[in-house]
Subunit: 384 residues, 4 copies
């Protein structure tokens, strides 16, 4: 947000000695003045930064503790109203290496959103692709294209760009959840549109059905409603319930135990949320996945192009991302920049001694890289 | 390139009065200090910048005159050697609103490259997608995956990421051309890989065939070589010759004259360079097109999401991009940021009195937006 | 199966008078003898048959009663062993207009299959795409690529070509179900391969798990197992359970009742079985769907290119297909040839007085037509 | 065409002794009578025919000599008028094993069409996909959607289903060419629609431009007309000129001579006609290719699922298809059924002693098989 917008910023070029640089002579300095005046920059002075041998992220790994986020969100609930203009009581992660911008990584936004009892967040729509994920609590309905969708612990609610949406807290207590969007990416490519909607929801949208209409149409495995084919914008399934995600992860680990394929590596179950209309990623720019790492297991260090945000859903463990390492527990968020090796170690949680698995929600910008033929991964071989 | 990479940059938040902002109280100021300490930024203080109602580009329209570029490139030819490390004698357009970065627009790189007689530019490869376009001259061969491709006025040479390439000037005079790449975009999404290749080309690669092998295999309209299906990386056709582009544009205008469809609007012929293996854009992230505007015609103002760089190939005219307007002539380059209305008026060139059309080469980031469901255009209605 | 395979069958051409036919002269008759000798047939004598103004199916509508099929299948159980060579105790519908061929329609095969207690049907694989649908009973496991899949009333089991499969009856009673395949279509295009597998299943394949491994991996709505992406051949989900299908249909009718979209026409719920890996039809050549028609409702007459086979799953009603009309009840099968208008009327079933809906399983060759740009539908407007 | 259409054809089943057949007993015979009465056929009596271990085509290889075809077509020109009803003076190849049907293979139609000086063939359209290929002569224009397309030796004119088309002979001599269509395939799947158009072409359509409008828009390699994107039905390029095809083949053989990839096997150049809008096969159901086999070269025996029709364009040679072998020369047509190994040997033509290559036009039903995951090929290894 600090880029100059107006006037002509003079290009500042210094002729410097260097192994790959031309000799500094008066003629060269005169040439560089000519470049500046004409708003030109020679490649040979910048190529190392611009075209590195492998991704070197501007962001860095970082962890935020859930207790801190929740405390600050709660105080915001008391001090900051929700309404048109500010639009949402959402507080975003600001990567420590991104100059104070509210960017979790170079391309992704992640925030805690907080809604007080009885509050509505006003309707709007935007090109940014978004989702909600609930680590604890319930009581809020997200209303998407007039369809109220309940939110409960473990639920994942995707929302493709340009669908109208609002939030309504029907409970007698506040509720917090995380929002993920592609705001930094769309800021970079300058594709954003934003429209304000109605200030108030209708009576019908204040109802609190147990399931959204979208789930009744699209939430049956492998079955699609013929009347709805080709309608709507983006994924038609507006909520992926925790019971389904949990069952899918449990099944993968049980299959592994029985000697069958199912996990991505020993002790590591992984499901991806997909759009049932095409089977691909759930949002055009965002991949969302859920990991379960069996107690005591450490995953092999793995890099990929593009960045991720993780939230611990259950259990606790140790995370190593490049040169950083943190203990994590329920609700904690951490970010993994592009091409940074990540390894996750699960440890038995005293409060959950039976399973002891570490459950992690993840979202990333992988669809952007994949659709543009730029997705690449590398897993280090480890020796047992 | 100025973002802090190391250490924790404190987030600086000021509680300010404003129509959509909460009242400034000691409690709010204390909350904001808490945000800063925890590396958090509330949405309500930033939403207008982050999520504008329509794209507001950080870049601005600008024009560079070819004569200036060519003069500075020529002086570079005398002072700056070409070799490993600097890699290329390429001088990039730096948009006046992008803080001195060598970015033509927020996502695109454009440079004049210059090679002296007998010089080689060393082999390398990179994930960045690239092309060459020749506004004048000849004598250089671009060697892609060991296939030497001659470059002459009007030729367009695409080169998908991770193909090995080098340049060789076989003539007794220097040659200049423009390079276009998606460097800023790949910098933003942090997907870049770069490998150094051989320092010297082989004897065979120093040959100067009249046509590349790629053209002999893939340059026949609608015909594909069955032996090559599924091979190679990206578009297999490495050169689109001027004679073909010129004929296609001539045909469109003649069809219009005869009362048949062919042009995109009256007097405005437009062809797109495509990958013959799939018919889509010639590069995964870059769209390349060629316009011919009949003498005296003014095109309707048109916006699109994403940005473009244009080079005048022939003729002269007047270009209006948002609040900017310039006279342009052969070789001049100009840039059009996202969602900026562009109109082009062609005037009869004295040196080309018969046709008098304005010929323009264009490249843009449209495939990125299109593949991610973010491409949008708007054409203003004009009244004759 | 009656086409001559050997020798040269003389073409028999008769010069006939007709409105569009040339005058019968000795010269014409001599010409036609020349055609015959050279194995040629002129278009002008055949065009009406070969290129009709709209599809005129060689097949005709027909209904088979379940009680008859079941009785004959039971008698076969006593008289005909199952084993290598005959492969399956399957008895196919032979459309009365297709010359005694075991073709339900011009492209589709449908059969009742019957397995006695303890019997195995031996393993094989073939290019023909197949499925099983269970109208009543349980006790058989279909073993696909060594994964045992239980079969119960209402279950749909797709099986893409070239997957190994066998059947095992683990119960103490016989079981019947229907098989659907694209045998006539693959016979026409001559694409068939068939491989014999193992004569006996392993111990492990004789186990009778409650759910198949495929369901544990792929049966969770919108969730895909990352470890399995890109593996296997065709749809990875080997069973679509009745409980899910029933719930999806119930939801559609309830949404309609509440004033929301969901049904394809008033009182007519319709779901399609899809491959969760891509969201398209469950088999490359076969579309499978399930209809529920509310009691007392009559559907609008609808035609489509390509043919269908229906089985009544529950309820009873009246079906009109072109010039044919039949009463149908549980288990009855009927076929609808290409471009034949079909209307279904549901009547309250005494045995099911609460719901009274008519439930119908359908399969068709629509993916073939759709992928080749030949699918077309037409619904007659009806007046309430 | 001989299938019964009306009435109920009794299924005729005979209980026979056989290695895989049940014992013939009175009970079995009674069961089989029950099957007949109920219009049922057991799989175990038919499986070998219906589900063979590999494709066994109903068609057989056959060759037609061009001189015979041309002579009979010429006599038809004198005796048979062209007009509404008969529609075209087209004479179709009737495979000797297909019971007198005008089918070249089980799925493909091939005919010689003949138009007298000044004649028009009336306008119509149909779902059947079609093309023309010209082995000799010129003077006829095919008018597609009112765009007149000249036809000359070596030209290939594809025409996707449901485009209006007519023919006009503007010369003072008759002209012959071959038509290829998917008539048998569409007959089998019963997808056909046919509409009659205008009886007479307009003045403008009787003009004889040197190039069609479609070529002016779409005939430039790798370049697409932006104004036409998304318009029209099927391939927008209506003619592939011989000069381009010849150049593409020459280039492949010259590249091979220079030690570079280009041919499909030594001495065997092969190009495929593609739709420039998507790079895939030129028609939804038909693949069209052109082979050039260097003098003295014999190609390795190769099978594929699906069938082909070939026409010799130039040169002469020896063709072996399964158990059949023929000498072929200019204009001769031959057919290769599914999974029949084909080998082609080229011999120096006395009349063309310099090049001596054998040039062959081929069309097949490969897109049908490919889109339905049924395409398979096998090439026998040969020892030099």
């Amino acid at each position: 947000m600090t880029e100059p917008r107006d006037g002509v910023s003079p290009v500042s070029l210094t002729a410097e000695e260097g192994p790959d640089q031309p000799s500094v002579t008066p003629a060269l300095e005169d040439l560089y003045r000519g470049f500046e005046k004409a708003l030109l920059v020679p490649l040979w002075t910048r190529i190392g930064d611009l075209m590195p041998e492998h991704p070197r992220s501007r962001a860095r790994p970082h962890r935020w503790e859930w207790s801190t986020l929740l405390d600050l969100a709660g105080r915001s609930g008391d001090l900051v109203p929700v309404g048109r203009g500010g639009e949402r009581r959402a507080i975003a992660l600001a990567n420590p290496s991104l100059g104070g911008r509210p960017y979790a990584t170079s391309t992704l936004w992640a925030a805690i959103q907080y809604l007080m009892p009885g509050e509505d967040a006003p309707e709007h729509r935007h090109t940014q692709n978004a989702f909600r994920f609930v680590v604890e609590g319930e009581g809020v309905w997200t209303v998407v294209e007039r369809d109220p969708v309940p939110m409960r612990r473990g639920d994942f609610l995707p929302q493709t760009g340009m669908n109208w949406h609002a939030h309504h807290n029907a409970a007698d207590h506040a509720m917090a959840w995380i929002d993920g969007l592609d705001i930094p990416f769309q800021y970079d490519i300058e594709a954003q549109f934003f429209d304000f909607g109605r200030d108030r929801l209708s009576e019908e949208e204040h109802t609190t059905p147990d399931r959204s209409r979208s789930e009744r149409l699209w939430g049956h495995p492998g079955l699609v409603p013929v009347s709805q084919l080709g309608r709507g914008r983006g994924t038609p399934l507006l909520c992926y319930r925790w019971a389904d995600t949990d069952a899918a992860l449990t099944d993968q680990l049980e299959l592994e135990q029985a000697g069958h394929p199912g996990t991505v590596e020993p002790g590591h179950a992984l499901v991806r949320y997909t759009d049932p209309a095409h089977g691909g990623d759930v949002l055009p720019t965002v991949r969302a996945q859920f990991h379960r790492v069996r107690s005591g297991v450490e995953t092999a260090p793995r890099r990929e192009t593009g960045s991720s945000v993780y939230q611990v859903f259950d259990g606790s463990g140790q995370v190593t991302a490049g040169d950083f390492s943190w203990s994590v527990t329920r609700g904690d968020l951490f970010v993994v920049p592009s091409w940074t090796p990540l390894s996750i170690r699960s440890q038995a949680s005293p409060s959950d001694s039976d399973s002891g698995a570490l459950d992690l929600f993840q979202f990333s910008d992988a669809p952007i890289l994949s659709k543009l033929d730029l997705f690449r991964t590398h897993t280090e071989e480890t020796h047992a």
